[in-house]
Symmetry: D2
Amino acid sequence: MAADFYNDSLNARCSIPPLVNRKAKSGPTKVSAGGISFGGDEIVIIAGPCAVENHEQLSETAGIVKAGGASMLRGGAFKPRSSPYNFQGLGQEGILMLKEISRIHAIPFVTEVMDTRQVEFVAQHADMLQIGSRNMQNYPLLKEAGMSRKPILLKRGMMATIEEFLLAAEYILSQGNDQVILCERGIRTFEPTIRNTLDLNAVPMLKHMSHLPVIVDPSHGTGHSWMVPTMARAAVAAGADGLIMEVHYKPGEALCDGYQSLDPDDFRQLMTSLRKVAEATGRKIL
Amino acid sequence: MAADFYNDSLNARCSIPPLVNRKAKSGPTKVSAGGISFGGDEIVIIAGPCAVENHEQLSETAGIVKAGGASMLRGGAFKPRSSPYNFQGLGQEGILMLKEISRIHAIPFVTEVMDTRQVEFVAQHADMLQIGSRNMQNYPLLKEAGMSRKPILLKRGMMATIEEFLLAAEYILSQGNDQVILCERGIRTFEPTIRNTLDLNAVPMLKHMSHLPVIVDPSHGTGHSWMVPTMARAAVAAGADGLIMEVHYKPGEALCDGYQSLDPDDFRQLMTSLRKVAEATGRKIL
Amino acid sequence: MAADFYNDSLNARCSIPPLVNRKAKSGPTKVSAGGISFGGDEIVIIAGPCAVENHEQLSETAGIVKAGGASMLRGGAFKPRSSPYNFQGLGQEGILMLKEISRIHAIPFVTEVMDTRQVEFVAQHADMLQIGSRNMQNYPLLKEAGMSRKPILLKRGMMATIEEFLLAAEYILSQGNDQVILCERGIRTFEPTIRNTLDLNAVPMLKHMSHLPVIVDPSHGTGHSWMVPTMARAAVAAGADGLIMEVHYKPGEALCDGYQSLDPDDFRQLMTSLRKVAEATGRKIL
Amino acid sequence: MAADFYNDSLNARCSIPPLVNRKAKSGPTKVSAGGISFGGDEIVIIAGPCAVENHEQLSETAGIVKAGGASMLRGGAFKPRSSPYNFQGLGQEGILMLKEISRIHAIPFVTEVMDTRQVEFVAQHADMLQIGSRNMQNYPLLKEAGMSRKPILLKRGMMATIEEFLLAAEYILSQGNDQVILCERGIRTFEPTIRNTLDLNAVPMLKHMSHLPVIVDPSHGTGHSWMVPTMARAAVAAGADGLIMEVHYKPGEALCDGYQSLDPDDFRQLMTSLRKVAEATGRKIL
């Protein structure tokens, strides 16, 4: 079925699973989360801290991103950390804090689930569930997320091919849940100067193959706060349906990922320039 | 010397060679080739066929890219081909054909050198010499190119780190020639659906480290003509000082790389959209 | 702490977590599973089918590998498959079948767990739990496995660095369980002719850094049954403490991974040659 | 033509060029250099310093490797160095020093050529020409080497697929020169703890596809002298027809690659253990 897409290429090597395939639908899928729609003409900005640390940090940051033009709040309560000795997140307490502050600032939120046993609780409170890169091929978690009937933000594994990424999304759709957003967040390459190599090629490729919305995470995709604005603009020019970015009210004091988090001023300036690039490509920022 | 650039990063692992280092100069280097200036506010478009095939093909294509808005013509006469049984290029005859057609259409040209023994001849005729990806660490060729005093378009090796890329440029500068343009053209990753993974992160990273102009090749960087316009726009949004793209008057009949070459209509439409993205980022197309 | 290991290298970039660090113990850790000891002078062979398919297949294959010289049986009941439409394994029924046939043939068995909710059941029946490549950074699963007090066979993620692999093992040890075997099974590279690139460098590197036993999976590490014997011998020469290999009584009929499974004759011949290589390096096959 | 080799694989993606193809000949090609034969039952050891530094260093090291059991001397006079500020080699003076010391110690030598203009001179003096990793796709150099009629040691590019490696060899054979030895020397991956990832899978794969001899360089393939003996033994068990290793009479004083060079004692001990592994696989060290 993919063959006709690739007759222009010597290197075509991918088969597209049936439910995520662009040809399975007459047009793009719209994903609705907390009243926000992904996959239409409007580009959605998700912003917030890497991890929920405490009430002040989350509330201040939520206010900043809402005022700056973000439509959705991000923040981790269950944190997958490479080392067992790093801060592991506030767990259920963090989820409830997200819910409270989300309601105060009138901004819906997305947060990560790492374990099948967390899905039911998080699905009760969050507007969208995130499945992170390290769990992109955690099949029991994908199935549980599919059964939850919540919208799912699925991040590409740092070592996943486009085909494997689409197969992971297919696991969710095969449970009867088509509310899936694909998120490019950087792949692992040989290059040591950046944390991950943000692969913007994935944006046109995924939209070519699938009807699902595609967003980009330039914070994890570069690992340098000073690169985030440039790569965010490039992502919009590449056709992304949204961006998810780390913003912290005091990046220098963040418990995780401070070096890749935007400060409030950077975020406001970025939003201004993003609007111009969006318009230049015939779209607008939500 | 690089340390102060990277205090925001856990993954900083690069030392910047002295002559290419941004701190070695008070501002960006302008490279002038055939009267065209790279590295200023204006973005330069280089376009043309993969290989010089014959007079009609080159002349027709040169006319199309000039009319469409390109400022420089590209075309290979000495071709590095993976297989000894593929078309190897027209050699010196191709160089002379490039020169003739360049003069007729009043558009300067860049062409590749592969061998130290070719440098003198090509330098007599071309406006800029290209050193291709496979020769990025061909040190005798880099030195010879440096001694030629011609402007050099240096392409990143398909598996070269940013540091290695800058060290290759340093070989040219260390011969007393600072007229070097760096070109990102896609790196090799595990992803099979594209020929190379265009690494747009390299644009802000190289400009952060070095004073040299940086351009992007979305044709080799993706290997799919249908992806070229999208990635060309993303490259401009990422801050590229120019683009080099494959255009062929009849892509279906091209002797090499036809599947990644734009046809005349695609090229014209792309130029229109590029101008909008350039303006949205405060620049313009030359 | 790692610094003294790497003063001979320009590329040293790794910190070793404290509990897995070789310096944390006076000698190598012995891991005991079903009466079999890993990490001593004797090299342990684990063999069996990719997946448990039915009673005949498992029983026949178990008899063949036991007779051929394997000390432990492998077989998957919970199968992580890239596509939701592939055979997903027999689940709990498969675990019970493994237990029954393991007892009949007097050979202990190892089998994979994919979900925290499976750990308790599988730990009741299996002699060792396997955590697969795709779950190497599934931290809730690592913690649950650590708490189970069963020996754990931890496979390296297909794109995990040595440091990340050791950090994943540290998650298990930090729960008070030091019965962990590290398994190299191939990493993802740019090379398309093999399924994964078996990285035998990991064997001396892991043993240099850690006190844990290291085994090798040449079946997944190459994806070609004809390469398995050669790479199995190379793994033993590289100092592996064991091998885990796919053997099927009828590879042509296997429901998964038949193209990388040894047939009974290949397995018997391999065992003979492995004994010679083990002796040449001062060890023997258990 | 390759299809029948790969019917056991889901991942077969390679076509084998005609002249290097194993099917082009009735048996393996023997390459003879300075009276030494590669590609038969006997495994050939090549050893010596990274670079020729001075008469004492080369003469002492040549004596040590000859006495220890090496059959051929290695040493670089034209050195491809990543930085223009590193030691670039002694050039023609180094070639003549190699020739003199080679004759004194009655051991033939191999040395690198980097530039088409060096081939004639080096071919007059050396027993075998080496084309290094960075020049694997330097096609003019491959053709010039092919026309020289000298035996060629061709190293795999650090980013080259097996298919590209065979195509590079095909360039030499297509000039009428079949005296080519293929050398695996490590590929570039994401793993930072080693300089390159020695890919021993390439040994059986290349011998499966081609009739040319295959040798292994565990010095560049790991970048750590302490890993060289282990990986050398693994290479022999993997079926290598030879090894090329860096040995220096005083590694701590080497002008390049000292951290990956064996000292005289390590080399002698390694030779003893290599003989045992060779015998275990039915071969012997020359």
